[in-house]
Symmetry: C2
Subunit: 187 residues, 2 copies
DNA sequence: TAACGATTTTGACTTTTGTCAAAAGATCAT
DNA sequence: ATGATCTTTTGACAAAAGTCAAAATCGTTA
């Protein structure tokens, strides 16, 4: 979830609330190829990426890695289904580059909801952003060809283009590896 | 958003809160082919379908109708982007069959958040359900062929199969009309 | 019921995308 | 630097999906 234009400032937290919030988030570093979360684990942390890049993926029935999200700087990491439903994750979340996060535990985050009323609104707004992103993603799949989806990806995430394997992008936009290679050659 | 297994009961609203909630939702009937919402309007109501069937759709750049959701009985109707962001809707929501809803206005719903703490949790849970549905939908597009997406649709929404035009289903699963017809013939 | 309009199917064809395997290019650890 | 490994490209082909137009079906209404 990209939060470049989002800011906690607009919620007018009191100094006390802000201190409580910031104190709840602790730094964590993850080296390239290490995991933020493994399949089967319950997602117990929300992470905010301050540096680096991670991705989430699962394995389909033919054991292909299917990338579901990229998490560059200024994004929130969370395995939504797992975190929300306290259920084992179907996804892995793995660092592509050495990364630095701020993380908060599930329990602590629940306490923030109790202690700081504005957090309910923050949560609602973050959910809205996420839903907007997903609606857009679905629309792309419904109406665009593979080549068009790739073009959209390039426009939307130009920074990622240089930083991730093409294979990750291919599965993210739902095309075969070889097909993406040919799409790229054509233009 | 299908709420067949969801119930407001589990939130232990007080008698007072329940009365307030139920009193906020008023009945509304929509005849087949009439609109719950038109493109450009701001979605000012949430609706709960008690009878009938509606669908949401937009027009792509070639002026094709692209169906984005079906709303049979026991589902919540809402144009998420419009309702949440108070922005003009890009979608139409139109009744396929004569339908009966319970609706609540945006303002009233906001009051419920204020007046009844549990509504924050309800909202969060409904959002989670919606997000789960959308993750699933995206996964289908990423990993399944057109034929497989159709099979999934049939399994997931058997009731709809008899009630909606095939063209609506075709655009919902992202295939051409003629292609869907051929997929159906094959098996 | 006849007739109109909308929906669905079908045919003939083209384009897009996938598959499999091999070659070419990068990258990384030693 | 140099294998070893991983990623990307390419070729030859097959399968899937789209396009366009016409026919067949279905529903509705005059």
């Amino acid at each position: 979830m990209n939060l470049t234009k989002w800011s906690i400032d607009k919620y007018n937290l009191t100094e006390e609330e802000m201190k409580l919030t910031l104190g709840s988030y602790v730094p964590k570093t993850i080296k390239a190829n290490d995991f933020f979360l493994k399949e089967g684990e319950i997602c117990n942390y929300i992470g905010y990426v301050t540096k680096g890049l991670l991705r989430s993926y699962f394995y389909d029935d033919q054991a292909n890695e299917i990338t579901t999200s990229f998490f560059p700087e200024s994004t929130l990491i969370i395995a939504l289904d797992s975190f929300n439903n306290r259920a084992p994750s179907k996804e892995f979340i793995k660092a592509i580059e050495d990364s630095e996060l701020s993380v908060v535990s599930y329990l602590r985050q629940m306490e923030l909801y109790q202690l700081i009323p504005a957090w309910n609104q923050i949560c609602k707004d973050l959910g809205d952003i996420k839903i907007g992103e997903m609606l857009n993603r679905t629309e792309n799949f419904q109406t665009l060809t593979a080549a068009e989806r790739y073009q959209r990806f390039c426009k939307e995430y130009p920074q990622l283009l240089q930083r991730v394997n093409l294979g990750y992008i291919a599965s993210y936009i739902g095309v075969d590896n070889a097909t993406l290679s040919r799409i790229r050659k054509k233009k």
